[in-house]
């Protein structure tokens, strides 16, 4: 865990009065689930600062046509809107030293239609080849050049979003050999033209987002983790008392976190808030039954439920694997609350 997350909540601390007799048991989920294909690899060369506001301007003498400018600006907005993390943001600003150029001066490779270079956290640059550029594989057609987009044209917004993704830190997604998973990432080794799969995608896809989350952290503790991730979670459970009087009430508090795994980089040990955590109970040696969903606690990633007791009970908290994000299930250890004098 690192960096400031913007939900305004404070780190989790136990009230001192609960510290005595408070039982914490951690059980790591051990199911090696496969949530999807792997996140994009990250480029070497370092990261930008979290939420760093990157600006760019047009390269003097190589200014893109206004219609291309609009699509490049749209791509920058797409990157900012779909990063789902604290990755850098992009916006045009006249006079910025990060230059985007268009035309014959492009430094792209022989077959390259667009290209980038990055030097985080200080600068980047991007280029677009000119409309009609002759490659040995054909003639470059940018869709936005035409009033009706022909097959075989490349969508400027899609291609430049790919370049903004590289500038962030994303390397090309590693597809299956048949590319059945092409839509798992926008940042791809092989650019697609109209009407190939994904040719006009205008948002980072789940395996792009996964890497941006790992590299730059979440926008908030309640934000969803990319389904391209497969993160273990830890769930702990504690009670505010080891015993209560007959008919008394005990308050149980569960804490859900991303596992503290160094490979998770900035996501390690993140509190996981605003999820469904259920409390289960049983008599000693009996079967578990659900007591329902726990309420959100006052600090991020905590969940609470008050229970009235007339007999000794065992409790555990359960977080089931969500279908909409890349977190694994976890179950807390057992907490026993007795009936006392």
């Amino acid at each position: 865990m690192s960096g400031y997350l913007n939900d305004g909540r404070t780190p989790w601390h136990l009230p001192r009065r609960w510290s005595v007799g408070f039982t914490l048991v951690v059980l790591l989920a051990s199911v090696p689930g496969v949530a999807g294909h792997a996140p994009d690899p990250a480029l070497t060369g370092g990261r930008w600062n979290q939420n760093q506001a990157l600006t760019y301007s047009w390269r003097s003498g190589s200014v893109p046509d206004p219609k291309f400018q609009a699509s490049i600006n749209a791509a920058a907005a797409d990157a900012t809107a779909s990063r789902a993390s604290q990755a850098a943001t992009f916006a045009y600003s006249s006079g910025s030293s990060n230059l985007i150029g268009y035309g014959t001066g492009a430094t792209c490779s022989t077959s390259g239609i667009a290209c980038f270079s990055r030097s985080a956290p200080t600068s980047f640059s991007m280029w677009m080849r000119e409309q009609g550029h002759k490659f040995d594989w054909g003639s470059l057609r940018w869709c936005q050049y035409y009033s009706t987009w022909p097959d075989g044209c490349f969508d400027v917004e899609n291609i430049m979003l790919d370049e903004f993704g590289h500038v962030e830190i994303l390397n090309h997604h590693a597809n299956y050999s048949g590319e059945s998973d092409y839509l798992d990432a926008l940042v791809q080794t092989k650019s697609h033209a109209k009407p190939q799969t994904g040719w006009n995608a205008h948002a980072f896809a789940r395996c792009d987002v996964a890497t941006l989350q790992v590299q730059y952290d979440m926008q908030g503790w309640g934000a969803k983790y990319s389904t391209c991730l497969d993160l273990a979670t830890t769930l702990t459970l504690g009670a505010n008392a080891g015993y209560v009087g007959y008919g008394g009430t005990v308050t149980l508090t569960a804490t859900l976190k991303v596992a503290d795994d160094p490979s998770y980089s900035r996501l390690a040990a993140n509190p996981v808030a605003l999820r469904y955590v259920t409390l289960e109970s049983r008599p000693t040696g009996g079967s578990w039954t659900s007591l329902g969903t726990m309420s959100y606690g006052s600090t991020s990633g905590t969940y609470t439920k008050a229970v009235q007791l007339t007999t000794r009970r065992e409790f555990r908290a359960v977080f089931r694997k969500p279908s909409t994000e890349g977190l694994r299930a976890s179950t807390s250890g057992t907490v026993v609350v007795a009936i006392g004098p």
């Binding site: 690899p41 990250a42 480029l43 070497t44 003097s60 003498g61 046509d65 206004p66 219609k67 291309f68 268009y102 035309g103 014959t104 001066g105 430094t107 792209c108 490779s109 077959s111 390259g112 667009a114 290209c115 980038f116 990055r118 640059s125 000119e130 409309q131 009609g132 002759k134 040995d136 594989w137 054909g138 003639s139 057609r141 050049y145 035409y146 009033s147 009706t148 987009w149 022909p150 097959d151 075989g152 490349f154 291609i159 790919d162 370049e163 590289h166 390397n171 090309h172 590693a174 597809n175 299956y176 050999s177 048949g178 590319e179 080794t189 092989k190 650019s191 697609h192 033209a193 190939q196």
Partner: protein
């Protein structure tokens, strides 16, 4: 691994092939054989006319000619090593470099037709980089030469070397070898127009 020819180190062979390829690029971009013509929907072959099938919008009708020379030319972007494909006893053929990332830079490119290479049915193809850079994971896939970038079929995948795979079925194929370099140096796609006889 590529084999050394009789008394001739492989590196010399590859160097010669690279030199020829570079010279060819400097003069006229190499053209695939007629059968390699990317008649697929996704590529427009350069022609004298090269008139778009759809008229440009009036708002940017003058966009194409406006390709001004930049005021401060930049040096060319560093590229990953070239790569060669070879069958046993055959000459290595340098592939066409497609999209890549390398040393904090990179280029976007589509699926390319690739450089021509003729192989026999059932032959084993061996891929090798021309420089000493370790290969991480890799995939090999093919697309019909007549419609490059469509009907993609996975042929092989793996990790490290040797990077070998069986020739595709009889016909003409654009074959892509996609490499992930070790030590997180980047990734690259290389293409060959493989005619299997």
């Amino acid at each position: 691994m590529l084999r050394e020819r009789a008394g001739q180190p492989l590196t010399l062979v590859l160097t010669a092939v690279v030199a020829v390829a570079v010279m060819a690029c400097g003069a006229v971009a190499p053209s695939p054989s007629p059968s390699a013509s990317p008649a697929g929907a996704f590529m427009a072959r350069p022609t004298v006319a090269d008139i778009p099938s759809t008229a440009p919008s009036s708002a940017i009708a003058t966009a194409e000619p406006s390709s001004p020379t930049p005021s401060t030319p930049e040096p060319p972007m560093p590229e990953p090593p070239a790569a060669a494909l070879q069958v046993e006893g055959g000459d290595p053929v340098i592939g066409a470099l497609g999209g890549f990332t390398w040393m904090n830079g990179g280029s976007a490119a589509p699926w390319l037709p690739g450089r021509p290479i003729h192989v026999g049915r059932g032959e084993r193809l061996t891929f090798a980089l021309t420089e000493s850079v370790a290969i991480g994971s890799w995939t090999v896939s093919r697309s019909p030469a007549a419609a490059v970038g469509t009907d993609i079929v996975g042929m092989a995948d793996g990790t490290g070397e040797p990077l070998t795979f069986d020739a595709p079925p009889t016909g003409s194929w654009s074959v892509a070898v996609e490499i992930r370099f070790e030590e997180n140096l980047g990734s690259a796609a290389y293409f060959w127009l493989v005619t299997v006889e």
